[in-house]
Symmetry: C2
Subunit: 235 residues, 2 copies
Amino acid sequence: MPMNPLANETCLRILDSESGTDFDPEPDPLARLDADGAAKAYHRGQEIYRPEDPAEYWYRILFGVARKCALLADGRRQIVDFLLPGDLFGFAARRKRHFGVEAAVDGTLVIRYPRRQVEILADSDNRVGRMIRNMAFEANARMQMRMLILGRMTAVEKVGCFLTEMADRSSEGPSAPILLQMSRYDIADYLALSIETVSRALSDLKRRGAITINRKRHVIIADRKALGGLVAVGT
Amino acid sequence: MPMNPLANETCLRILDSESGTDFDPEPDPLARLDADGAAKAYHRGQEIYRPEDPAEYWYRILFGVARKCALLADGRRQIVDFLLPGDLFGFAARRKRHFGVEAAVDGTLVIRYPRRQVEILADSDNRVGRMIRNMAFEANARMQMRMLILGRMTAVEKVGCFLTEMADRSSEGPSAPILLQMSRYDIADYLALSIETVSRALSDLKRRGAITINRKRHVIIADRKALGGLVAVGT
DNA sequence: CGATCGTTTGAGGTTCCTCAACAAGTGTGG
DNA sequence: CCACACTTGTTGAGGAACCTCAAACGATCG
C-alpha cells in the first residue's frame, strides 16, 4: 500500500486519548494543568530550552512552530522534530535532556508546566499516566518512521514525505494548501539534506506536476500518490 | 565534549529505575510479571512479531539479539533498533505497530507478557507507570540520537558510533572486547549504509589503529577517542 | 535606493552505492 | 579425506546521488 509513513500518524500526536486507547472517557485530563501553566511568546530562533537545562518543565505549543535539534561541534545540525500547536514536549527521564528546542517562527506561543505537577497528576490519576505513556509510544513510532526516511529514502522522496506530513499535521486538514512556516534551512536540517537539494527536489516535484508552488512557501499537493514513499509489509 | 551520542545512554535502557528517577525504591517492579510471561527461543531471521500483528503483548529479550526493522516495497530495509538482553519492546499506542521484530542470532530467547497484565499493573502501581514512562522517554532520546547519526554522520563516524554503542551496551562492560553478534548486513541496515561501506569503514578504522579485529566479528577498541562522533552543546 | 535575507539554479567535487571478483569459513555428500 | 556449494566478508573500479561553491534572483526593510 503506497502511503507516506508519517501520514495519518501525526494527527494524533497529542490530545487524542480517544482513537484507540481503551476506556479513556475524558478528552484531555492534562487540561487540568493549564491553571499551573505559564505561556510565553518566542521570536524566531529564540531558545525555549537548552539541552543542558535541567528538565524541570514540560511544554506545549499553542501557536507557531518550534524545532527540536541537535548540534555537532563542527556545525552540523539535525532537526529531530518539528513541534506544532498541540504538541507536548520536553520530557526526559533522569532530568537530563540531549536536545534544545527553539522557536522556528516569530510569535511561537508556548505554555510551560512544572514537571512535578504533571508527575503528581500522573500518579494520582492513572488515566493521565496511560495517556502520557501512549503519547510517548506514539512519539516513538514517529521517530522510528523518521529513521526510515532519513536512512533509506532519496532526496525527492524525503521532501515528498515531508510535504505530506505537513499536510496531515496541518490544523486545516490534509487536503488544504500547505503553508510552510519554516525556512528551507530548517527543512534541510529536518531531512538531513542541503538547502540546495531541498530546493531542487521541490522544483523537481513541481516540474513533474506533483505539487504547485506559489509565493515560495505556499505548496499545494496536486498528486499525493506521486509524493509518498511507499511503506511495505513486514515480511 | 567529544563523546559518542549513544555511549552511556544505553546501559540504562531498562531495569534501571534507580540512576536518576526520583524516589523509586523497588529495583524492578516489572519482575512481578514474569509469572505471567512465556519464554520462547527463536532462530536467526525468525519473526518475533510482525508489524500487522495486534499489539497484545510486550516482550523482553533474555538472551541473544533481535532487530526491529522497517521494510520498503522495493527491498530497502532500515533496522530501527537492536534489542539486547534486558530490553523491553513491543509497546504501541492504539494496538497498532509499524515495525516487525526478528531474531538476529540463533537461540534468541524472548519472554512475552500480556499487554493487559502490564497495563493493569501500571494502573495499580504508579511506580510501574512511572518506570514505563521513563523507559519510553529514554527510548525516545536514543531514537533521537540515532537520527543525528543517520542524518549527519559520515560512514566512518557511523561505524565508530556503532562500535562504542555496542561496547557500552555489552553486558561485559564498555572496555571488554566487542563480540559483534549480528552480520554485516544487519549493521549496514542499522546505519543506513551498504555492507561494502561498513566493511571499508571497519578496515579504515583498523588501518588507523582505532580498533583491532580478529576473527571478523571480534573487535577491540584501541582508541576510543578516534571513534566517537562529537556531540556538541546546544548553543 | 541599497542592503540583507531567503531561495533557486548551475558547475564541479566528494561520498557512498553498485557491480564484480575474490577470499575465508562452514556444512554436505561422496 | 576432498570436492562442492553456500554463506559471509573484503576489496577494487566505475557511476550515481548529493554536497559545496558560486552566482543570480526576488522579496522585504530600512
